[in-house]
Amino acid sequence: MSELRAQLREWRAAVEKRLPWSSRGLAVTLIVIGIVLPFLFSSSSAFMNATIIAVAYAVMSLGLNVVVGFAGLLDLGYVAFYALGAYSLGWLGSGFFFKAKVHVLVSPVASTLPGVHLNFILILIGAALICAAAGVVIGLPTLRLRGDYIAVVTLAFGEIIAEVAVNGQSIPVGGGMTLTAGNLGISAVDSPYFPGIGSFNLLNLRPWYWLIFAILLFVLFVNLRLRDSRLGRAWIALREDEVAAVSMGIPLVKTKLLAYAIGAAFGGMAGAFFGTYYTVVNAGQFQFGFSIFILAMVIIGGLGSIWGAVVGGLALGYINNYLIPNVLNNLPSKLGFHFQLTSVEFGIFGFLLVIMMVLRPQGLIPERRRRLELTARIAAEDAQLVETQGPAGGPT
């Protein structure tokens, strides 16, 4: 038994030694698969639609992972940045502000319409900046708090933004225009347009997919770079021990604010994408439950783990938008029950979370540090067992 274990350990060490090479190879393979994936499915299939939403969820999950996973700030109001990102798109890429006439690099059709019409890339940058700024404004009073208090206050801010979105049609911004369109929604938003490629449309989902996939790669790149940097180390240190981190010269508020603003910016980018993809920015989209949904992605993937956040986002995205509505929805009626699976989806997610916490609390792809901590604890327990059972090893 102990020989077998030693052998396993040896193999694992050998594999880990080759990991830098194999992980690079793996990354290239995954990117190539990601690029050619749409050709395997019909260009307007339900699966393609689910894939696009799942990838956008992964972007959000990566954003929240910076806040909750890296810096250890439990944010229960992440939906606020989804909302702000989506509204950035509504404001900067539709006829909503009908008195204005601003057109920058948009399709020939859009450039004849009233309103603010910016190229989608500019909107994406704008959404990131607006959300980062909002993150700083919300974070300044909030992040002086600790632990659970942060969770409560961020929850409150999430609700405030959602309420402002609902009631925004009564908030004038001049010229007879209002801040939001409330539950009516800002509709007729521009589809992304790129010179030489043309406008995206919902009959062909492939360009949408490549767009969100590119956003995912960008966000992933930033995440990976930040994790292994001075800033990333500072976040982990703050998460581990705030007093010690501050005593080692890490500025508390500034470092936390950076995490919060970066997470907000990523949420805003995904929000802007959802705005144009759903063709409407409706205040009803921004429910508290969505904050928890994104948090569940981070936790199921593995708190603090970048690849975990991606896998968690994709997994819940597919389950929510494909598996439940398209594959298993009629399962209860086949079994003789009178309900559809979509009506109990939150119950399903709750159940999944409980199962995860019982079977694999560290998440699907745990962060390297947590894995090390766990394996070391197991090794220590093994050593103790050997000690109590004598040097001959346990019973075989």
Binding site: R233, I236, V246, A376
Partner: protein, 268 residues
């Protein structure tokens, strides 16, 4: 507040740190009561006193974790009374903690790299785009961290292990290395020999002197082990119930009746 009220520093010695009439109250409790003392450059000064005398509270004020209710703290010429702890670290004060506070989920090397944080420049965009100077800075920081770990006597295989899994003695070493990484002028050690056997304490005593000489440091330490205190310090300050009750060379302090009373109780 005139400077004549504070005790005169020993001749020809510049003081690195000076506390003037520092008081800290928690509600009605006076944890530190009107304490003044200074730490001459390149010296090793001990802060002793019974449990609850206010030693660690004083440390927390010196490092900015607490703000004094009254009084002034000067680091060289600079007033650091109300400065933020991270800034004070940047000005050159580093510390260790009574009950070790390492970042458990980080390796020994990473812990020491955190100590170097104030000396690094990479910000958000530097971290994302990683230009050559950031790569160089990162590499140098890592090398320096390994050097420091070797300097405090950690053995190579422990460098890349998680701090939480190191044996107790190694954790103490990593904590000192982490403090040294911020390139301090003043090092505050809070009971560095706690939990050590006499041989280890003796080794640490010698190491403190070596550090002081190698790195041109000034050391202020809280210590309970009288053998260490008498062996290493040039000056000793004694606190009891938040008040300074004695100060001077180790031999003087040891003979002071007030100190004996504080430690052993009043003789009948």
């Amino acid at each position: 507040m005139s400077s004549t009220e504070t005790p005169a520093p020993p001749a020809a010695a510049v003081s690195v740190l000076r506390a003037e009439h520092v008081t800290k109250m928690f509600g009605g409790l006076v944890a530190v009561n009107d304490v003044s003392f200074d730490v001459p450059q390149h010296s090793i000064v001990s802060l002793i006193g019974p449990n609850g005398a206010g030693k660690t509270t004083l440390f927390n004020m010196l490092t900015g974790l607490y703000r004094p209710t009254q009084g002034r703290i000067l680091l060289g010429e600079r007033d650091i009374t109300r400065a933020r702890p991270d800034l004070i670290t940047g000005y050159g004060v580093a510390r260790t903690f009574q009950n070790i506070r390492l970042f458990g989920a980080m390796t020994a090397v990473e812990n020491v790299m955190i100590g170097h944080h104030t000396q690094m420049r990479a910000g958000l965009f530097g971290s994302i785009f990683r230009p050559p100077w950031v790569r160089r800075e990162e590499r140098q920081t890592r090398e320096r961290a390994r050097e420091l770990l070797a300097y405090v006597g950690l053995r190579e295989p422990a460098f890349d292990r998680l701090a939480s899994q190191l044996p107790y003695g190694d954790q103490r070493r990593v904590e000192i290395a982490r403090a040294l990484a911020s390139q301090p002028v003043l090092l505050l050690l809070d009971e560095p020999t706690a939990g050590m056997n006499p041989q280890e304490s003796q080794a640490l005593t010698e190491f403190m002197r070596a550090m002081r000489d190698d790195l041109k440091l000034t050391i202020l330490l809280i210590e309970h082990d009288m053998k260490v205190v008498m062996g290493v310090s040039e000056r000793v300050t004694v606190l009891d119930y938040g008040k300074k009750i004695a100060e001077g060379e180790p031999a003087e302090v040891r003979a002071d009746p007030g100190v004996i009373e504080a430690y052993l109780g009043k003789q009948a």
